[in-house]
């Protein structure tokens, strides 16, 4: 419970910063102030300034938007496609539909998210949208497997039998009886995929395959800081810390949620 609160508070702080950045940032991130460039952290610029004189603190606030939006939408794609597939596979367990869906899952697992992103950007060019699609595709089999696994055991339970006897079709049972019982699991997995999505987005935009300039993103801030790391280490430090704290917060939140939902896992955590 303590981890849920701590993790939620840390992750929430970044969500809040992202929302606040729409209304207000300490400095305008689009304005270049060459006279103020490469200033170390100080009371006026808490996290220093970059080689264009932009305020790093403000850029991190705006960058949080991209990271969170990309990861959240990618989780949305994973749930939106993966959960119906998982429910359908479980409803037709052992049938050709189940077999096709599961083999399709295995296939997607053979393409690491970064490889999917690379194929997509090779053809469509780099953008935040393509990053969302790439990470989203990778999320689909994760949710499909989780849903199928949980649904299979639910299909053998009495309340589902009762629904069948009452004459409900398998689609209706899946939606009315199976889905509500897997929601908890989906929330926990969603938190984990959210944090993985933040990491993946950072990696993609570090490579220049994510959101394009002038939109600030944490990954690209790190890429740009690399050549200046010897004399302006703060440029590399703060965006990295932002990523670590967000991911750490989300992971703690996920662990806390899992403990809350299933107290048995408190015994041994993986």
């Amino acid at each position: 419970m303590r981890r849920l609160v701590t993790g939620g508070a840390v992750a929430g702080l970044f969500v809040l910063a992202a929302l606040l950045s729409f209304l207000w940032t300490p400095y305008d991130v689009a304005a270049l102030q060459i006279a103020d460039r490469l200033q170390p952290p100080s009371p006026t610029h808490w996290f220093g300034t970059d080689h264009f004189g932009r305020d790093v603190f403000s850029m991190i606030m705006v960058g949080a938007r991209v990271s969170i939006a990309v990861a959240l939408l990618a989780v949305g794609i994973g749930i939106g496609i993966g959960v119906p597939l998982g429910l359908a596979a479980a409803a037709r367990q052992g049938g050709w539909l189940d077999e096709t869906i599961m083999r399709g899952n295995d296939l997607v697992f053979a393409f690491p998210a970064l490889l999917i992103a690379i194929m997509i950007t090779a053809v469509f060019g780099p953008s935040a949208t393509n990053a969302i699609i790439a990470i989203g595709i990778f999320n689909v089999p994760v949710f499909a497997r989780l849903t199928r696994g949980a649904a299979l055991s639910l299909w053998t339970r009495e309340f589902v039998m009762a629904a069948r006897v009452a004459g409900k079709g398998s689609a209706r049972i899946s939606v009315e009886h199976i889905l509500p019982n897997v929601t908890n699991l989906l929330i926990v997995q969603g938190t984990i995929q959210f944090s993985l999505g933040i990491l993946a987005e950072a990696g993609l935009s570090y490579l220049g395959l994510g959101a394009q300039p002038p939109t600030p993103s944490w990954g690209r801030m790190l890429a740009e800081s690399q050549t200046m790391i010897g004399f302006a280490p703060w440029l590399a430090l703060f965006p990295g810390l932002a990523i670590v704290l967000t991911v750490l917060g989300l992971n703690l939140m996920g662990d806390g949620l899992r403990d809350l939902i299933d107290p048995r896992t408190r015994r041994s955590r993986a």
């Binding site: 296939l107 690379i118 194929m119 950072a202 570090y206 490579l207 990523i243 015994r267 993986a270």
Partner: protein
């Protein structure tokens, strides 16, 4: 066992066939005319026509797919458009960087994770366990390329123990080459080691609760003996699974890490190929990486079945 292996082999072949169709369709069919795409808008019609001929675009998609696949089976991956050299030769050169890097990272993460995971499991609930679990949480949350940059800052910029990037090649013996791969391998190994240590710990804790471990203790073995001779072996199955899965993450992670350290590996090759719109290279290298992932999964499956006959029935 042979029947099981054959069945897995058939599914390996099917996966590869489907994966190759997916890669082919994404890269060669979706952009419309790959020749125009690769050359960009301002290309002369002659250049486009020449590239179309080289790519065999006058043939139908099915013929092109078949000639691509049969070419790969013969070891012919086509000619890179930007470098004008056979892709197969480029891949072999780059493998001498990427493969040692992946193995180095795998070795490091195993060497760190196994003792740490076992240590935490045997001191379960103590400050050691809590500390290890906290450290692994952090390890999972740190992006490997950021960790790599911090390593460069400390060990290359400040201490000057290693160079910040580049690769000297293997011609001067393994010393300089391994030295250049050390920081990249550490960066690549960190998140993997954190995950592996957690899996090792929880698998070991689960088996330590089993009846056969209690029996071993009851017959007079010490805690350490029971752990080493009985629990550890049985805890290895989930650990091996993760180890196999990690291979694909190491390959993907290497794409980023090779770019941080300017290592001339497969990851850097594919990344440069994208910015040069060299679809021939992208297509072949993606397929090769997917092949590696599918092959490792197949080998891990076989390894399990060899270790645990119960799994053959699935």
């Amino acid at each position: 066992m042979i029947r099981f292996a054959l069945r897995r082999f058939v599914s390996l072949a099917i996966s590869l066939a489907v994966a190759s169709v997916v890669v082919f369709v994404t890269i060669e069919i979706v952009p419309g005319d790959p020749a125009t795409f690769m050359l960009g808008m301002g290309a002369s019609p002659e250049a486009v026509a020449a590239l179309r001929a080289q790519l065999g675009l006058d043939q139908g998609p099915v013929e092109r797919y078949l000639s691509w696949v049969t070419g790969m089976l013969r070891g012919d991956f086509g000619i890179s458009y930007t470098y004008r050299t056979p892709v197969a030769d480029m891949v072999v050169d780059r493998l001498w960087v990427s493969l040692p890097l992946a193995l180095y990272a795998l070795a490091l993460s195993t060497l760190i994770a196994f003792p740490v995971g076992i240590w935490a499991a045997s001191r379960r609930g103590t400050a050691v366990d809590t500390g290890v679990m906290g450290a692994t949480q952090l390890g999972i949350a740190i992006p490997n390329f950021w960790f790599a940059m911090l390593l460069v800052l400390v060990f290359a910029v400040n201490l000057r123990w290693f160079s910040a990037g580049g690769f000297p090649g293997w011609q001067d013996g393994p010393g300089p080459a391994l030295r250049a791969l050390t920081l990249p391998a550490i960066a690549l190994a960190l998140p993997q080691a954190a995950i592996l240590a957690r899996v090792m710990r929880s698998a070991l804790i689960d088996t330590l609760g089993e009846d056969f471990v209690r029996t071993a203790r009851a017959k007079g073995l010490s805690r350490g003996q029971a752990l080493r001779h009985h629990a550890l072996r049985n805890a290895m199955i989930p650990v091996l699974t993760i180890l196999g899965l990690q291979f694909s993450f190491l390959l993907a992670g290497a794409i980023i890490i090779e770019n941080v350290f300017f290592l001339p590996g497969l990851g850097r090759l594919i990344f440069q190929a994208i910015s040069q719109r060299d679809l021939i290279v992208v297509e072949s290298v993606v397929m090769l990486l997917v092949f590696a992932v599918i092959l490792v999964t197949f080998l891990v499956d076989l390894a399990y079945a060899a270790v645990d006959p119960r799994l053959r029935r699935r």
